[in-house]
């Protein structure tokens, strides 16, 4: 494999389902060895884009190259879109044996290791029909790892996992990325993307509204938002100094500010005799930017 080539290079991709435009002229470039986040609200076109990359859906227009190949070969590509599904009457291990046979080569020799890495070794003998969503997610990861992938395409891999499972999943992805695997990861969770990704593409209604590195995204991010409740909200609004935006928002006050400005503001509230009853992060800077990018009028 030529490492200079992008793992994925998609140009001007478009897909329409009857009257609904799912993807409209999307460009996507994922560099080799990078962890690339694909984020957007429901209906943004993320899953359609991933299904086109995996050859499940035919684009109406545009081109896709995977590791520089024009044809939709999935050699070295593993992953899943939406919740991974398996044959319920076969065990997890038997499902992997089937998929390994479909892959050919030495995939079958990686079954046990894939189960171990995905944390499913103990439950691999049980029928997949009895698996929880989280266990299916883990089996999906194991199925992807069977292919010894150079590129992992994952659609919300932490979906359905409990907190420990989410932590393990993130650790696994971080480890794979550190070993040089290119990862394209769709997610709703900006915190997850911030933790894992080097680059990010944000989509809205089938179009790309941001594409760049996490650093570039952070530079564009607005102040984070905090939820504030005080003993006298009206007075608290009048005490807002420069660099702060404070407004009443139903359940208390919504404050947009950098951390140092917020500290100064809270101290000022105390000195003015206004007690702070609740102060919590409403949305991080990146989440706030995500909302701005994906909710503002086109």
């Amino acid at each position: 494999m030529d490492n200079a080539r992008p793992a994925i290079e998609a140009r001007d991709l478009a897909k329409r389902f009857e009257e609904t435009v799912a993807v409209a002229g999307v460009d996507l470039r994922v560099g080799p060895g990078r962890v690339h986040g694909l984020v957007g609200p429901n209906g943004a076109g993320k899953t359609t884009l991933l299904t086109m990359l995996l050859g499940l859906v035919r684009p109406d227009a545009g081109s896709i190259q995977i590791f520089g190949r024009d044809e939709r070969r999935l050699d070295g590509v593993g992953g899943f879109v939406e919740s991974p599904r398996f044959y319920p009457y076969l065990s997890g291990r038997r499902n992997l044996a089937l998929l390994a046979d479909l892959d050919g080569g030495d995939a079958a020799t990686r079954i046990e290791e894939s189960l171990r890495v995905a944390g499913l070794l103990d439950q691999a003998g049980a029928k997949a029909g009895g698996y929880s969503v989280g266990m299916r997610q883990r089996l999906g990861i194991a199925a992807a790892l069977l292919r010894d992938p150079k590129l992992l395409i994952l659609d919300e891999p932490a979906s359905g996992l409990d907190p420990a499972g989410m932590r393990d999943m993130r650790a696994l992805l971080a480890r794979l990325a550190a070993e040089g695997t290119t990862v394209l990861l769709s997610s709703h969770d900006m915190d997850e993307v911030e933790d894992l990704c080097d680059d990010v593409t944000i989509m809205r209604t089938g179009r790309v509204v941001f594409d760049g590195s996490m650093e570039q995204l952070r530079e564009k991010a607005p102040d984070p938002a905090y939820r504030l409740s005080t003993s006298d909200d009206d007075k608290a609004v009048t005490l807002a100094g420069p660099g702060l935006e404070v407004r009443a928002d139903g359940d208390g006050l919504l404050v947009h500010a950098q951390q140092d400005r917020l500290d100064t503001y809270v101290i000022a509230l105390g000195r003015a005799g206004v007690a702070v009853r609740r102060l919590e992060l409403e949305s991080s800077a990146l989440t706030a930017l995500f909302f701005r990018l994906t909710e503002e009028d086109a």
Binding site: T51, G55, V57, G62, P88, Y89, L102, G105
Partner: protein, 283 residues
């Protein structure tokens, strides 16, 4: 923008064989396939036991009046019943579900993102459905012959021209008769495959061929023109009658074979084209 051609995944050698093998393994794990196969093996014996327990005979059925006299009439009576609805039903149990079950389980995305092309997956699945259809038909044939010979006896039988047929000759004619229905069985298998791919619904895939078969039976019962009757996929199920006359006639067998092959080719070709072009979306 430039239109994208259908991306054909390069074929992996032996890919269809791997899919075929796994489809057979999956079938052996499915209760419905086990049940149908068991039914094909046991039902003829139960049928003969029930016939032996009563003095009446199914006189309206070809060879039905001799079910107490010669065991060779049993497989022919079973064939007469089976050709009307049982064989379309038995074959469509797998053929009508083998593609639709991937929609039901949501597993299209799981298998289509591996190293096998859609062509290979289609070929492997279609071959598995055809294998099941042939195996169930052969099982039903051998089981009903065994049930007749073991529980009634291997007495000579009387042909449709009134000539006595020796046991050995009778056995050959019985097996040949069952062999002639393999082509219409495969025609119904193709119909099941097409409905399975097109509807993405197992109920339609499994029930559709049965309903279509019954409608064809009805059409053949009313005063339809001969050309229409000749074009029905149910007509070849009765083409074996000509084997039992003193001067056998093979015209219906040839016509039935051609009709069955055309049904099979059109249905399987249509199913293949639909699967190739399909966008796999949804969970």
């Amino acid at each position: 923008m430039t239109a994208v051609a259908v991306a054909a995944r390069p074929a992996v050698r032996g890919g269809a064989w791997v899919v075929y093998r796994w489809e057979l393994i999956k079938l052996t794990r499915q209760v419905k396939a086990q049940f149908v196969m068991g039914l094909c093996l046991l039902a003829p014996f139960l049928f003969v036991v029930a016939l032996n327990a009563q003095s009446n005979v199914p006189q309206d059925t070809l060879f039905g009046r001799w079910v107490h006299d010669t065991g060779f009439s049993i497989p022919l009576v079973v064939l007469g019943f089976a050709g009307q609805w049982a064989l379309p039903a038995v074959t469509s149990v797998v053929a009508g579900d083998i593609f639709a079950c991937e929609d039901r389980y949501g597993t299209w995305k799981t298998i289509l993102t591996r190293s096998r092309s859609r062509s290979q997956i289609f070929t492997g699945k279609a071959l598995a459905a055809m294998t099941f259809s042939v195996l169930t038909t052969v099982s039903l044939a051998l089981s009903s012959l065994a049930a007749g010979v073991l529980l009634v006896g291997r007495q000579p039988m009387i042909g449709l021209s009134g000539t006595l047929l020796a046991p050995g000759h009778s056995a050959v004619l019985v097996l040949t008769s069952w062999a002639t229905v393999l082509l219409p069985v495969l025609g119904f298998t193709g119909l099941g495959l097409l409905l399975s791919v097109a509807s993405r619904n197992s109920v339609v895939g499994v029930g559709g061929p049965v309903v279509i078969g019954l409608v064809m039976q009805l059409v053949s019962l009313v005063n339809a023109p001969p050309i229409v009757r000749m074009l029905l996929l149910t007509t070849p199920f009765g083409a074996w009658h000509g084997l039992f006359t003193a001067e056998p006639y093979y015209g219906p067998l040839v016509q039935g074979a051609v009709v069955s092959v055309v049904y099979f080719a059109v249905c399987v070709g249509g199913a293949y084209a639909l699967l190739r072009r399909r966008d796999v979306t949804g969970s």
